[in-house]
Symmetry: C2
Subunit: 386 residues, 2 copies
């Protein structure tokens, strides 16, 4: 086990009808900016429920945060925060709205001239404007971690940020919100959380037995309840398992003491930038090729996953490892998620070379748990994903 | 899944040589009271290491906290804290020292006249004097939770206390401390953590799949590495798994959203009060009888545990459940822990009636996840443990 530090101060309020508890979580004199996305919360009743809970607070609103939250839009919200002296941010939405809110939390207290520097120069946020979240789409785990990914349309960049000041003060998780999520977005959430676990688990054995088993527990639970939730989002118990699994997949716990990969995300982000493919789907496209290309480095853990998660106990290490990757693909397909780039765009030729060029230009030093995946390796992984 | 709230702000610093990081965790002007137990830290070098790390701080000391930390001794430390205007408590020890420190954290800021009221009247601690811990004996999980159990010799009481103000600011966990722990104390730690998991898991199925799997993960890891650590405490990787498993067994995570039992602890505490039997050993005495006596209520979960943890896939639910209890006993025996009261004392006759009388006198309303285990049931459980 590697040395590690772990601290996660976010308060989780989980369960049926928990949005009602919102007023107790806010400072009584809070001046709140309610931040949301494309307006689905106005159709499914969550907006009304939140507004009712905020009846005794001064509330401003900023809607329209897009998937892959865009810098150009967020700076408009930043102006409102400063002009109105907002003291508390409330994100009501999925990972994009929460990530956008984290950027605003940081940017509000940022002392520099250009808030984009937080992302471009990798400035860590030690203190941010306090914020809470009401999660409407389980997937990213952003509701219980201190990271965010922000896109900038004008420069085709998608960059990460974070720091201990960016944990939500609280996050309210009511599994009933899942009832109104479209099937394809539920599938995205399942694949996103599943791949989050893989990025922290599918590396090489390091005698971190408890972390391995926790990771396998999340994979098993998603495999079990994912298709049930997609089929029947009104089945509360399955929705609750799904929602809590997504949070636990990326709240920091399972990555502590073990090597982590994150190459799938780094490459997948490029596909979103180029083609606008949903984040989760880019992961489903890249992960299988990544594991096949780096097979020697990952086969021990792939075989362990085959045994413990998929109950595959026959064959050699290599055969089990191959079967494990096939199981991943079958699971994604079962959810209606395609795993080849050509299934998303006809314009895929040349993508591998474009991504290689961008990674080279960016001076990328090497991806993956061994930091040895060069831009030329990325080219081959992407080619294998066509 | 039941509704729940979860917040655990303790910072964990885990790994080799992490005691060196102590100075960075303390306020620079901290006036520290170093709290420890019977002096083993002076023999194994941990005391010297801590003192070296504290070279630039004003440090007072209070040693001699006994196992089952006693109120009568703790109030002596309280006098020092008040007289010297101590601003930070540092517990260096196992669960007893940490629990004692939590009492002191609470009692220092307690506004009432009699600090025993915190326990006797069940007063919740919202704000305590800041404290950190350096864990020297993995077992209780006290290093990452906000609860404590304090004994009072004069009244033969052993009572719990807690509250959000009693999370350690930080806990330093260096698995190398395990090298100097006697084998019987390592066994105690394994059984204590194992039983903590059982108290939160061995109830009835509630469709909390992830929590179940996390609980099973901890049991599996303890089963796997426990005997290895006991045999060879110098095997770092096993020691690290053991240490992290003990913390995760009682940091609140696996109890969220599920019913919990805690009857084994409630009954076991009485055996410690009467006979001075080590806490963990009282759990090993009571747990098997408790599960046999409440077999109908628990057989579904016992059978699930048999299948998932012990790979027992043949037989009826009842047969698997019986086999599971036997597996628990075998594990305890393998660690050198006896599971019958008569193996600890010749003076056991009448114990069941004495405990029944004490529970009746205390007005106990019912133990267990269904709150339906009456004092007369406790009598029978204890009788079965002779």
């Amino acid at each position: 086990m590697l040395n590690f530090e772990f601290k996660n101060p976010t308060k989780i309020i989980f369960g049926k009808n928990t949005i009602q508890q919102l007023p107790n979580q806010l400072p009584s004199d809070a001046k709140v900016l309610l931040i949301f996305g494309g307006g689905s919360i106005k159709k499914n009743g969550i907006y009304d429920e939140v507004k009712a809970a905020l009846a005794n607070f001064e509330v401003f609103e900023f809607g329209g945060i897009p998937a892959n939250p865009e810098y150009e839009i967020l700076v408009q919200a930043l102006e409102i925060i400063k002009k109105e002296n907002i003291t508390f941010l409330l994100a009501v939405g999925g990972g994009s709205v929460i990530d956008g809110t984290k950027f605003l939390s940081s940017a509000t207290l940022f002392s520099g001239d250009n808030p984009w520097d937080i992302l471009e120069k990798g400035i860590r946020t030690d203190v941010g404007l306090p914020f809470g979240t009401i999660l409407t789409l389980p997937a990213t785990g952003s509701e219980m971690n201190s990271g965010a990914v922000i896109s900038r349309r004008s420069t085709q960049q998608k960059l990460g940020m974070g720091g201990p000041g960016l944990f939500p003060q609280f996050s309210i998780l009511d599994p009933k919100v899942i009832q109104s999520i479209p099937k394809n977005q539920i599938a995205n959430g399942i694949v996103d959380a599943f791949t989050h676990v893989l990025e922290q688990y599918m590396t090489y054995p390091t005698h971190a037995n408890l972390q391995d088993r926790f990771a396998e527990s999340i994979l098993q639970t998603l495999l079990e309840v994912g298709p049930i939730v997609q089929e029947n989002p009104f089945y509360y118990e399955a929705a609750a398992d799904f929602m809590w699994s997504c949070t636990m997949a990326l709240n920091g716990l399972i990555q502590k003491g073990v090597p982590t990969d994150w190459a799938v995300h780094a490459i997948g982000h490029e596909l979103t930038v180029f083609f606008g493919i949903d984040h989760a789907r880019t992961l489903a496209i890249i992960a299988p090729s990544h594991y096949r290309y780096n097979f020697e480095a990952k086969k021990a853990k792939l075989a362990q996953c085959a045994e413990r998660v998929f109950n595959i106990h026959t064959g050699s290490i290599e055969e089990k490892a191959v079967a494990c990757i096939e199981q991943f693909e079958q699971f994604f397909h079962k959810l209606g998620i395609q795993t080849k780039l050509s299934e998303y765009t006809e314009d895929y030729l040349g993508t591998a070379e474009r991504i290689e060029a961008r990674f080279t230009e960016r001076g990328m030093l090497g991806l993956g748990e061994h930091k040895n995946i060069a831009p030329s390796d990325v080219r081959q992984i992407v080619s294998m994903s066509y």
